[in-house]
């Protein structure tokens, strides 16, 4: 008797062990993988999302993406509105890439991202891209492709990451830097190849000052900035081309293409009479990939090439640094360095710092050395 009562109670308890409140069934939800955010003329946000749909049979099922867009006053309201547009329950926890239109980034990026940081299920590992055109048009431009739209953008960024054009960042990585007074960050900038949409390409990086976009760098400038920040991984393939000055060697068509095999960079902050100077040493080791005039085993040729490439890169670097200073984007964390090692600049107002940063003497000393030249001389 007693045993059967116990058994009954146990079975009864079993009913309570299933916590059914927070279940989320996969067949009820529409997972979105990519989201683009624009601004309408009325000042509202406009979101475009791609929802993958599988068509055809189970085996030969092809994935295509449907594109939806709505407007709203906040990002979260947008999601509610989108939810009403799409049949299923919208789930954004699998977003892999977020496209933000440049005009919005110039206003304030944090406003857009706040809802992502606040949500425990938010996809913090997703990529953020800044778009030159409206994000919606970039989405529309690639509808013909059978592949997932998110895959397309992620691949685009990842290949740019391997080329060291853009930094390897995600939603979470940029947050500490965005809120940090001592350093700024940059994000991939993409635009479409032709005005009629179609393919997109990475055109450089968007520079941020605090939470606002304040300028942009071209691909080559961005590579230099990444090298100076010492965030380039060893496996990245950095390939650049230099236009050699005409020096009467008619056999050359005037270009050399090389890969940066290794590099060393060092930042030095020198306090000088109440202000600071920044000194950078950038040492690049090159592997020549293409140089039709050959003769790369001759000491003189190599020495001359070293010098020519060095001059070219020096100009590029100086331009990059100048752009950074003009936009007020402290990509290298010069202010953080001063704060950390000189215990200064803590309480300086943002405007005052921007001014002193723009006027700061930042000297980069580029040194170039060709160390390899492929399997022929």
């Amino acid at each position: 008797m007693k045993y059967s009562i116990k058994l009954f109670l146990l079975c009864l308890l079993l009913l309570f062990t299933a916590g059914c409140w927070d279940q989320l069934r996969l067949n009820d939800v529409d997972l979105i993988y990519a989201m683009g955010i624009d601004k309408t003329e009325e000042g509202d946000f406009k979101a475009t999302v791609s929802v993958p749909r599988s068509t055809g049979g189970q085996d030969s099922g092809q994935l295509t993406s449907d594109i939806f867009s709505t407007t709203g006053k906040t990002i979260r309201e947008l999601r509610v509105n989108l939810d009403n547009t799409i049949g299923g329950l919208l789930d954004s926890s699998k977003i892999r890439v977020i496209l933000v239109h440049r005009a919005l980034a110039e206003e304030d990026l944090y406003t857009i991202l706040d809802s992502f940081y606040r949500d425990p299920r938010a996809p913090l590992a997703s990529k953020i891209l800044i778009t030159e055109e409206k994000a919606e048009s970039l989405f529309q431009g690639i509808t013909e492709k059978p592949e997932l739209i998110s895959e397309y953008f992620v691949d685009l960024v990842q290949s740019a990451e391997r080329d060291a054009i853009v930094p390897v960042v995600n939603l979470q990585n940029i947050c500490p830097v965005m809120l940090d007074r001592g350093r700024d960050f940059h994000l991939p900038l993409i635009s479409s190849v032709s005005s009629s949409g179609g393919n997109s390409l990475v055109t450089g990086t968007a520079l941020f000052t605090g939470k606002k976009m304040s300028g942009q760098l071209t691909n080559n400038e961005s590579i230099i900035a990444n090298l100076l920040s010492d965030i380039v991984s060893k496996n990245d393939k950095i390939i650049m081309t230099t236009n050699l000055p005409d020096n009467g060697q008619s056999e050359s068509h005037g270009y050399i293409t090389y890969q940066i095999d290794e590099y060393k960079t060092k930042m030095n902050i020198i306090p000088k009479e109440g202000s600071y100077e920044a000194e950078f040493d950038l040492h690049l080791f090159l592997n020549v990939l293409e140089y039709p005039p050959d003769k790369l085993s001759e000491h003189d040729t190599v020495a001359k090439l070293n010098q020519d490439v060095e001059d070219d890169l020096q100009i590029l670097t100086d331009n990059t640094v100048k752009k950074l200073q003009e936009s007020g984007s402290d990509l290298f964390g010069i202010r953080r360095e001063i704060m950390a090692f000189h215990n200064d600049k803590f309480d300086e107002e943002e405007e005052a710092w921007k001014e002193s940063y723009a006027e700061m003497a930042v000297n980069v000393n580029v040194e170039v050395e060709i160390i390899h030249h492929g399997i022929i001389n």
């Binding site: 409140w21 927070d22 995600n170 979470q172 990585n173 500490p176 809120l179 001592g182």
Partner: protein
């Protein structure tokens, strides 16, 4: 007076008991609680300082309880202050432990609600934990200690999960060391203190431990060293991962760090961490609920603490369900912090002085 032979634990179990009581609810937000300023992240210095303060307290405690080798703190009260005063102070301690146990449940519930179960009613989260805890609380001290020992392996998982964070750290956030100023660093000590609470179980378990005074003192010391090291590690990691400004926005930084990574198999590492953390919470809850029941038994002359255990956990559950918004929770935690300073520092210190002055020693055993 006490069933010494029936209820005794080894010094090693004693050490683990203290440690498991310490590692509890406050652990995942400690770096946030002691975060100093937006200048530089000096909270880890505060954590180390708290560790030193606790070492001093442990020394004080062991000097005090050495004089009454077979009495728990509840009984010492009666022996020193007489029946009425002693019982009053014991009752205050019982209430304090009840509050701490309630606070553990409260933090557990609010973190779980925000991070994983937004739809699940609070009473389900809280009462399921209480029910599980009840199984252990009604048992003997040895059995609770064995549970604490078994779950020690869980402690290894957390640092391992934190390793991927090193892909993205900035050591300069720690510099200049002490940049927030000595005053700020010191002023954060009370805020972090609540996360360290648990070492005071020493006062109450001392007579149950087999071993010399030195062994017991060392056990408490090792536990303190381990816990201080453990929390300093997580504080440092937090401070190099988040910039000082961002940390102001993140109340559970240790969890938030894990949210940024995904692995092919584990999509959300923070949930893996939370389930590990739940085990650690259960051990603290069990310890405090046990102490409360023990106190009720000894103060009010019950035959077994088992009788009190269900009521104790029911009260904890009610305490945990009472506050409805985050601000009330904050206020409640602030008050518990103040109480904990009183009950772990002020009262034992006064008792110690009293004992020294009046040369009370080894009263009836």
């Amino acid at each position: 007076m006490i069933q010494e032979n029936k209820q005794s634990i080894s010094p090693r179990q004693f050490m683990i008991f203290i440690l498991q009581t310490q590692i509890g609810a406050g652990f995942i937000s400690l770096p946030f609680s002691v975060h100093t300023s937006e200048r530089s992240s000096d909270g880890w210095i505060t954590v180390l300082l708290i560790g030193i303060i606790i070492q001093i307290l442990i020394t004080l405690y062991s000097l005090l309880v050495k004089r009454f080798p077979s009495l728990t703190f509840f009984e010492i009260m009666t022996a020193v202050f007489g029946k009425f005063m002693g019982k009053a102070i014991s009752a205050a301690y019982i209430l304090f432990f009840l509050l701490i146990a309630g606070q553990i449940l409260l933090v557990y519930c609010s973190v779980l609600e925000v991070w994983v179960f937004p739809q699940t009613p609070n009473w389900v989260i809280v009462s399921s934990m209480s029910l599980v805890a009840l199984y252990l609380v009604k048992e003997k001290l040895q059995i609770i200690s064995r549970y604490h020992t078994v779950i020690c392996y869980v402690l290894i998982i957390l640092p391992v999960l934190s390793l991927p964070a090193y892909a993205n750290v900035e050591f300069r956030y720690l510099l200049p060391v002490g940049g927030s100023g000595v005053y700020t660093i010191l002023s954060k000590i009370p805020d972090g203190f609540l996360s360290f609470i648990g070492f005071e179980v020493m006062l109450f378990l001392y007579p149950f431990v087999k071993g010399t005074n030195k062994q017991k003192y060392l056990a408490a010391t090792y536990s303190n060293i381990f816990y201080t090291g453990y929390t300093t590690y997580f504080s440092l990691l937090t401070y190099i991962f988040f910039s000082p400004e961002e940390l102001m926005l993140v109340p559970q930084p240790v969890l938030y760090i894990l949210k940024a990574f995904t692995f092919p198999v584990f999509e959300r590492v923070d949930i893996l961490f939370l389930s590990t953390w739940t085990v650690l919470i259960s051990s603290s809850l069990v310890s405090y609920a046990y102490l409360t029941s023990l106190g009720i038994k000894q103060t009010f002359g019950l035959r077994h603490h088992k009788t009190a255990a269900p009521f104790v956990l029911a009260l904890c559950t009610l305490i945990a369900l009472y506050p409805r918004n985050d601000l009330t929770v904050e206020k409640f935690l602030g008050q518990v912090t103040n109480l904990s300073l009183a009950f772990t520092i002020a009262v034992p210190a006064l008792v110690f002085l009293f004992v020294l002055l009046f040369k009370k020693q080894k009263v009836s055993t």
